[in-house]
């Protein structure tokens, strides 16, 4: 989230799109009801299905699954055409006035630089035109034909209300009504917030959907404002913490990244990440990258990391490609990956195309499961009749099951969607032999290290040299780990502006990432978490919810990364002269000598208004990007591409380029995509409020509340197919079938898309062949094995199926 | 001598047994039913092991009584047809109540009052049976819509009140009309009694008819 949960209450217009907050985030959803009750907010839900969120919305707007970019592109077109943008903000705080390189082009669905064979782009033209001073050129009048605003206008001029309605199936009048509500927030004293979740991320164009929303918010001047922003609702209680700590295969903690196989030179590795300012006077905060990186390496390797050995840079893996989960299972499928650790992860249930997964898991030599529950993955070799039809005698994979604790059985910090790191305490001792994950990993590590010590082996250095200063080596405590990710001084730290003065003595916990050094005198396990456990103690355990501004900014409650800041980019809540755009949303302000206010300023505190420094301090150009440069795989402007399985078999905008040209498709999966001839219905998978993923089918109360697998279809489709509510139905895709009870509902309406009637089939995911709820089929038997071009998040939300009464 | 052969046989042993079974179950039903009707009577549940047992056994007593009374009413069905003479008899009730039997029309084995009582008992017993089944929560109530259950509750209470009244009247008559009880207790009545209260029957018996 750019903002945070409580901040939703400050919004004037709330849009839930690509998510279903009431269903999947009912506790956080309370802030929507607060905004409605106390801020007269208008609440809009845009979804293929009339959801539980829609049940309490002021306006429900249907759209076809997977067409969100078309919809939001239409919104951008509307805002530009009706002059409903916050012009002063756009001019000062976005790259609207920046001039793009000559040679950048968009034509018939493809941007300049496309390589058909590699399915990727040469992005060299997706850049600013630079002046002789090395800075990007801008045209303050925003009239230059190659300035971002003009390119933006041109790009989205195709997204007329008629085109939106034709692609999305949204009735034009409802679309325009939504646009009207959104447009009201271009006023400086009104804000819109977007709340989204997996309904956006789980598409082959998921990242671009989110970007489109961000662009809408920049145009409206809603980023940095209380009640504004683009707000990702995270699912697992600590999935935010997972990404923060860099558990994705290509990341290091704190959103630093692993080097690629071509980056073998340390200096070049740093230089490619420590962006130099692209405009004069910009902070370009990533210039500090080396401080964070060195501190991380010191935290990992201690004294072994020295300036001379480039802080152990050579020990870091160099990626030849991204090792996301789809890649991993593809490699298993090819027989190239033959040992797999599954920690707190149930891929057989959570990853698409179950048949391919079973095939991959069956080829493994060993599989290690670390989980509190007997997951489907850990039992993939068991024959469960039609629910898991395998022959155990044919599967040779050795499976180790290591029982772990669940969150309530250990101390620790959970990071919520709003980046609040909140400490929690053990509620109950773990059952049986279950151990905390850290203990299990420590046990495996110590054993491995012993083996390396005794027997040597290829490249033992990182294993042998890792710091392991925990009081009980086989049981690192959550407190120790938290202190480690916060960081500490490895030597006495002098005040850089007042030299002899020592700000931290050797061994003391650091207060902020601003104290990190690139000379090896600090260590920090995750720079953005610095400040979470200082000399004052565990800041995450603070429980003072006082809210002096009334804006929901509770600086004494837990710890919010970064730097206890609640609203990111909050400098943008003030106009260039330092006055809040809206006096009722006084997040920060310039008091004449420094930035201050209810929140921690996201800015250099002593830079006065009028200075050139822009509010988006992480960006080298200091402004928000309407034009994404080379940061996205499929283009600097989001473009509507159809899902890989589209019910209309074409892309009305450019029939030659139907779906995301930059999405990775494995060879064997090409043939596994269905077409509308055999699979006429647009399917989408989702969660229901009664269950949490594949966990709660193991708990009695949740199983009582929603005991059995079902699928949802509209009354019209049900009538066509002769299906009645409560009938058992068979749903199948090119990849397999499931059987479930039919819920026939008015909440799915057929949509008119490109001259065709499109019906949806809704597929809740929660059932499987383990647990105490009624056994069911893993819903991901049906889903396609293809992911977002940037994140490789699988396209669970848009695929094709057929349905019959079973 | 209670069973002096000179006395007239009024009820056979099986008839008597049948009557008393009905009577006892009726008393038990009243004792178990009343506490469910008015808190004033609730202490009666102590006779049956408390409220729960009272609730459980009441309907079973009811079934027993209905069977017993069913047999009896089937057995006596022909003796209980109202004739014009019976209606005539009814018109002299006030005189009878004052102890003046001189003008009472002749009656057969059963007089008009008894016949009418019998018929009313059949009617209300049927109502009690039907409404009782409906409000028998453990086995049947869920089969009926709630308005039927509510109606049945009222019908059951009303029918029970009426029938208790009728039986109280019946018992009082048996007490008030001296020696009547002998007929049901021992089976035989004195000829004098028979001649006085059921002269037609008396003549019939004396003349050798049954």
């Amino acid at each position: 989230m750019t903002n945070h949960w409580v901040d939703i209450k400050n919004a004037d217009v709330i849009i839930v799109m690509g998510g279903n907050a009431a269903e999947a985030h009912p506790c956080g959803f309370k802030w929507v009801t607060e905004a409605k009750a106390h801020n007269s907010a208008t609440f809009i839900v845009i979804d293929p299905r009339f959801t539980r969120s829609a049940a309490v919305a002021d306006l429900y707007c249907p759209l076809r699954t997977g067409t969100d970019i078309a919809f939001l592109g239409g919104v951008i077109n509307y805002l530009l055409a009706h002059n409903k943008i916050q012009l002063e903000y756009v001019k000062a705080y976005t790259n609207a006035s920046f001039i793009v390189k000559d040679g950048y082009k968009f034509d018939s669905g493809l941007f300049s630089g496309y390589d058909d064979a590699k399915r990727s782009y040469d992005k060299s033209t997706w850049a600013y035109e630079l002046g002789p001073d090395g800075y990007a050129k801008v045209d303050e009048t925003m009239q230059h034909p190659r300035c971002v605003l003009q390119l933006l206008k041109k790009h989205y001029s195709r997204y007329t209300p008629e085109a939106v309605s034709n692609i999305c199936g949204t009735p034009k009048d409802i679309f325009l009504k939504v646009c009207g509500h959104i447009a009201t927030t271009s006023a400086p004293n009104r804000t819109l917030t977007f709340m989204y979740a997996l309904g956006w991320t789980q598409h082959t164009v998921g990242s671009q959907m989110i970007r489109t929303a961000a662009m809408v918010q920049l145009l409206l001047g809603n980023v940095g404002m209380a009640g504004g922003g683009v707000n990702a609702l995270r699912g697992h209680s600590n999935i935010q913490g997972l990404t923060d700590l860099g558990l994705l295969s290509n990341l290091l903690p704190g959103y630093m990244s692993l080097p690629s196989e071509t980056e073998t030179d340390y200096k070049k590795y740093i230089a490619a990440r420590a962006f130099k300012p692209l405009r004069p006077g910009q902070m370009s905060f990533w210039q500090n990258y080396e401080k964070f990186h060195v501190s991380l390496m010191k935290s990992w390797f201690g004294d072994a990391a020295t300036k001379e050995n480039n802080w152990c840079f050579d020990w870091l893996p160099k990626l030849d490609k991204v090792y996301d989960v789809l890649q991993a299972f593809e490699l298993m499928h090819q027989g190239k990956l033959n040992g797999y650790f599954c920690q707190g992860f149930n891929p057989l249930a959570s990853i698409p195309n179950k048949a391919k997964l079973i095939d991959g898991l069956s080829k493994l030599k060993y599989l290690v499961i670390i989980d509190p529950l007997a997951t489907e993955t850990s039992c993939f070799w068991e024959d469960h009749g039609e629910y898991n039809n395998v022959d155990p005698s044919k599967i040779q994979t050795e499976v180790f099951r290591l029982p772990s604790t669940c969150f309530a059985e250990e101390n620790g910090s959970l990071t919520n969607s709003g980046r609040w790191m909140q400490w929690h305490y053990q509620g109950a001792p773990p059952p049986g032999d279950a151990k905390p994950d850290a203990q299990i990993m420590a046990g495996i590590f110590l054993k491995l290290r012993d083996l390396y010590r005794k027997e040597g082996g290829a490249f033992p250095d990182p294993i042998l040299n890792i710091t392991w200063g925990y009081r009980i080596p086989h049981a690192p405590s959550p407190e120790e780990l938290a202190m480690e990710y916060n960081g500490k001084a490895l030597a006495d730290l002098a005040d850089p502006t007042d030299k002899p003065k020592i700000i931290k003595k050797k061994g003391q916990q650091l207060d902020t990432f601003l104290q990190l050094r690139d000379d090896g005198s600090t260590s920090c396990g995750c720079w953005i978490f610095a400040g979470a456990w200082t000399e004052k103690g565990n800041m995450m355990a603070r429980r003072d919810n006082s809210d002096p501004s009334g804006l929901g900014i509770t600086l004494k409650w837990a710890f919010t990364w970064p730097a206890n800041r609640h609203i990111l980019y909050n400098r943008a809540s003030c106009d260039p002269s330092g006055k809040p755009w809206d006096p009722n949303r006084k997040v920060i302000y310039w008091d004449g000598s420094k930035w201050t206010g209810a929140d921690v300023p996201d800015f250099k505190p002593d830079i006065a208004p009028g200075n050139q420094m822009g509010p988006f301090i992480m960006q080298p150009e200091g402004v928000g990007r309407l034009f994404a440069l080379d940061k996205m795989a499929e283009g600097p402007f989001p473009e509507h591409y159809e899902p890989f399985e589209t019910p209309i078999d074409t892309n009305p905008l450019h029939p030659a380029v139907i779906n995301n040209p930059a999405a990775r498709v494995f060879k064997d999966d090409r043939g596994d995509f269905g077409t509308s001839k055999d699979f006429p219905y647009a399917a989408t998978s989702y969660r229901v409020a009664e269950h949490f993923h594949f966990w709660t089918k193991h708990t009695r109360i949740s199983s009582i509340l929603q005991p059995q697998q079902f699928v949802e279809i509209g009354e019209e489709l049900a009538k066509e197919k002769g299906i009645k509510a409560g009938d058992m139905v068979k749903v199948w895709s090119k990849r397999g079938f499931i059987k479930a009870v039919a819920v026939v509902t008015k909440r799915f309406k057929p949509l008119q898309v490109n001259g065709k009637t499109v019906h949806h089939v809704g597929i809740p995911i929660h059932w499987g062949f383990k647990g105490i709820a009624k056994n069911g089929y893993l819903a991901n038997t049906l889903t396609p094995f293809v992911g977002d071009a940037n994140t490789q998040t699988p396209e669970f939300k848009s695929f094709l199926v057929n349905i019959e009464k079973a | 001598m209670k069973n002096d052969p000179k006395k007239l046989l009024r009820y056979t042993p099986s008839e008597r047994a049948n009557h008393w079974l009905t009577a006892i179950t009726f008393i038990l039903l009243a004792l178990t039913g009343l506490p469910l009707f008015h808190p004033f009577f609730y202490p009666l549940t102590l006779l049956f092991g408390g409220g729960i047992w009272t609730r459980i056994i009441h309907p079973f007593f009811g079934i027993l009584m209905v069977i017993s009374f069913g047999i009896m009413s089937f057995h006596f069905r022909q003796l209980n047809t109202m004739t014009p003479a019976d209606w005539q008899w009814m018109r002299h009730l006030r005189e009878l109540a004052n102890g003046d039997e001189r003008n009472m029309p002749e009656s057969g084995k059963f007089n008009g009052g008894q016949k009418l009582l019998f018929r009313l008992l059949v009617l209300f017993m049927a109502l009690l049976l039907l409404s009782g089944i409906v409000i028998w929560r453990a086995y049947f109530s869920f089969l009926f819509p709630v308005w039927v259950v509510r109606l049945s509750a009222v019908v059951h209470a009303a029918a029970a009140t009426v029938i208790i009244g009728l039986i109280m009247f019946h018992i009082y008559m048996a007490i008030w009309m001296r020696e009547s009880m002998d007929a049901m207790l021992y089976g035989r009545v004195r000829r004098a009694w028979a001649k006085q209260h059921h002269s037609a029957w008396f003549r019939q018996v004396i003349s050798g008819g049954k």
């Binding site: 009431a22 | 009707f37 509510r150």
Partner: protein
Amino acid sequence: MALQSLDITRRSGTTTPSPAQRKTMEVAKLIDVSKCIGCKACQAACMEWNDTRDKIGTNHGVLDNPMDLTENSWTVMRYSEVETSRGLEWLIRKDGCMHCAKPGCLKACPAPGAIVQYSNGIVDFQEENCIGCGYCITGCPFNIPRLSKKDSKVYKCTLCSDRVAVGLEPACAKTCPTGAIVFGTKEDMMHHAQGRVADLKSRGFTSAGIYDPKGVDGTHVFYVLQHADTPGIYSGLPKAPSISGMVSIWKGVFKPVASFALALGAFGAFFHYVIKGPNEVSKENEKEFEDEK
């Protein structure tokens, strides 16, 4: 739930006053249907606090589950999809005991103290006094109490009388994430409800209103409805509930009248006997059959 109490307004199967020295404030739970997202957290909280568990059932082609109130499910969400002038609406109502000011269950109950009404308005079943006759089911205008097959006792929402007695809100209100369930004094809740109705009216729900039926003298669980003129669209919420006339006759006027009539009959017979004397065989007849004596 049994609680020794000095603030009992009414007690079933009892004709004399109950301990009533202490008068507490009337409480109420307000269910704002317009805020309800149907997440069933209230159902879960109810099961957890009261430690009741229904069987794991099956899906019946709707989202409702368990499908109906049971002796273990004291509250259930009822979902109805309704086309109104505003388009499709998904009306989700939390069903459960309404805690009527004039409770039909209590009126119908024959077992002394099996149902009590506290002065705070909570109508509470004291299962240890329950005899299992099910008359409360007959008496309830909202079809709430459920008879357990296991122990032949009747169960329903207690409004968490055990929590309320120690100053806590009911478990469902505590857990409701959107504030659709709120708890407090009836007066405060009424005030809150009026504010909600005003908000709904401002959003175009012209017939928004409060459902606090007068037929049972109001309830201590009451609703804010978007369409208060047609409560039936909320999964059959009765329009004008009251204690059925049948139940009123049965457990109202008829009870004393019938008892009195029977007493009168008994007295009448006795006085007839002592005034008129028994009916004996006449002298003439005795003479005729002298040999019998």
